[in-house]
Symmetry: C4
Subunit: 234 residues, 4 copies
């Protein structure tokens, strides 16, 4: 069932190593069918080289595996938490891409220093608080989703304005209206992190981008006045 | 019309990801036919993988689209401004190449530290001032061209001596007597930026290159006494 | 004899340049048949491009070459020392991968800053003490093995919990239950080293990962409670 | 004439971009036939993609072009100077490889921090003094060779112990008993420079390698007691 959804999830998963976002088996992508409340996700610990569309595991929003012979990614509860909290998103991607992960490990948000960043995010790419020993000891992957949601709720962030987060000590998660868009955001996050790291080498106290330029760039690509791309809604 | 011009612009555009200068759809190249006052430019937000020569959009120097079904790059007014101000140039390239963009984000020119740099530029690669809220709010992309031109006019820079600029908080623009040369300069800018960043790590107060060595290297490749390459005019 | 073992060692050796872990001929991999007490190792100074399975040299645990026309890697005594001391391992890999070697040259362990690291190691990747002039002057490669073993013995490290080491001033050695796993660990070490270097740029005094998160990540992939991957024993 | 020599020089030249040592047309390799006193060198400013063995230009040790329709590399006098001074070498390579050039631009030798470096060099990779305005104004490329030779003569360096140099503000030159070996050294220099830069980030005051380890590693690959590789004389 849901062959098209599984294919989308599959294509997103294999795009990750192709774009240099994945080392070994660190990473996974999922795509949801909102009408059915079911998402397709990568099986756990399978090499990308051997992955097939049919290996994708189908899971519903209660966390029940509804199809698939393989065990789903161990990060499945994090994906599920995000699909439940962020109702407008259609796909989630998790990578350990090197530069973004360096910020996550350091517990630092990625500061918004230029228009490349502003084309995708309406501010710094946020980092979560550290997880508590109790959160880690119990339903760890579900709680990982919870600290992400907490970060967005407390700051009143719209997930469409901030389509990525860094989990403290861990790595980035991204999302989009579909999983292909979430892959694109993952590429952007890695590239932005690399640039930010170098800008910080040049100017350790570099202030973030001016509000007027941030507004201009984000809005020319997003929302009702958008004029970038062919549809005005890239 | 202008099939050859469109092909040149197309070749330049697809050369950008091939040389690792482009992430996602960040970047564009244009080529002008001076006799007709028309330039060919990449359409907005189209993936490089799917680009065809016929997708190139033709625009005249008044900014009127004269051919093409797709919308031209949102950066088209910046290209047009440069073609109007710098009359000797035949092509313009814009990238967000990572190392050069790191300097642009930090509002720093790329200091001239060695002969690699001196083979292409007669001094530091300049950075513009920041744009004002008013410039950003109105004709943003046209005003981006204006701050570039202002930077060159105020410093009395010849665009042939300085075939690139960093737009503050944004990224590099390059040019050349034709668009293939502008691509070559984009490659050089990225490479020079990378080297400069590392030289600064080694020596944070490194002075720029000695005048006599700058003169020698720039002049052996450019101008009447040039003796590099097969034509003396590389 | 031992065609399968030689093929395994061969596959591991050619995987090293494929994953960007090797420059020139710096590196080697070996696989052991524990029942026979014989291991297969790369011949010394042979270009990876020309390597064939039959070039692998067979050596026993007393250091006697039991098959092969070529001379074994000059690092053979280090491999032998590790096979003797760490009885559970089936393969050893040595590279000079750039980021990990930068730590080794600086005499620094790779600090454990995030979950990528914790998925493979139960703490910092240790570095040996410097070798003494006498150790260097005598059986250098054997003594290289000895300082590794000394590091593990003195700290009571289980080689399964710490499947890699940095030899001071030199480079990393890794191991695993088979040589393919040792290659995987080599990839992980290089990637972890790169991330750690960048995290240190961001936060020079960054503390290492919290104990509870380290435990969680290491244990979800290793040991009796593991639930990552398809077998629970990745 | 000298078809074999031209082919060797050609192979070395096209190996440079293949190994990521060359950006644009920055670089050249030459091979000498000592019995004839003639060397083959890359033509000036020709794209590596279009290079053919027959494009190699033959030049004698007096600097006279003895064959070839194209102009030889503008760096030809530097190569010639090195062939005259260092009588045991059979090939010279010049690149602007990024990490090594960063050291050259900063006027810094590459400090010897580990065994990777010690396998190729018997100490730091030296940097020349800056050239004087007069040296630059007159026979610039010949004088570039002269400052290299001066550096070696004043320090009594054997070119076999130090098969590379950084020209201040410029970039590396390497050499070897043949041009293929000079290419190999160019790869090693770039890799060593990258590692040194990172080790310096970790430990800005890192002392260089201990004398006994330097001796051991250099001597196990070079000279009468060498035991690395298949011939003992790699």
């Amino acid at each position: 069932m849901l062959e098209e959804l599984k294919r989308e999830a599959y294509e997103a998963n294999i795009a990750l190593p192709k774009h240099g976002l994945i080392n070994l088996t660190f990473g996974n992508a999922s795509a949801i069918d909102r009408s059915k409340g079911i998402f397709a996700i990568k099986p756990s610990g399978v090499d990308y080289v051997f992955l097939k569309p049919d290996d994708m595991v189908l899971v519903d929003l209660d966390g029940k595996q509804v199809e698939g012979k393989l065990r789903p990614s161990s990060d499945t509860p994090t994906h599920r938490r995000l699909f439940l909290a962020f109702e407008s998103i259609g796909g989630v991607v998790h990578t350990h891409s090197s530069h973004a992960t360096a910020f996550a490990q350091a517990g630092r948000s990625i500061p918004i220093f230029g228009t490349t960043h502003a084309d995708y995010f309406f501010g710094d790419i946020p980092v979560t608080r550290k997880m508590t020993p109790q959160e880690i000891a119990t339903a760890y992957e579900w709680e990982t989703g919870n600290v992400i949601v907490e970060r967005f709720t407390s700051a009143k962030f719209d997930p469409a304005d901030f389509p990525a987060v860094l989990v403290n000590r861990h790595a980035p998660f991204t999302w989009g209206h579909n999983v292909a868009k979430a892959v694109e955001v993952s590429i952007a996050v890695e590239c932005i992190a690399h640039m930010a790291l170098m800008s910080l080498q040049l100017e350790p106290k570099l202030p973030t981008i001016e509000a007027e330029l941030l507004n201009k760039h984000f809005k020319r690509k997003h929302g009702p006045g958008a004029y970038y791309g062919q549809t005005g809604n890239c």
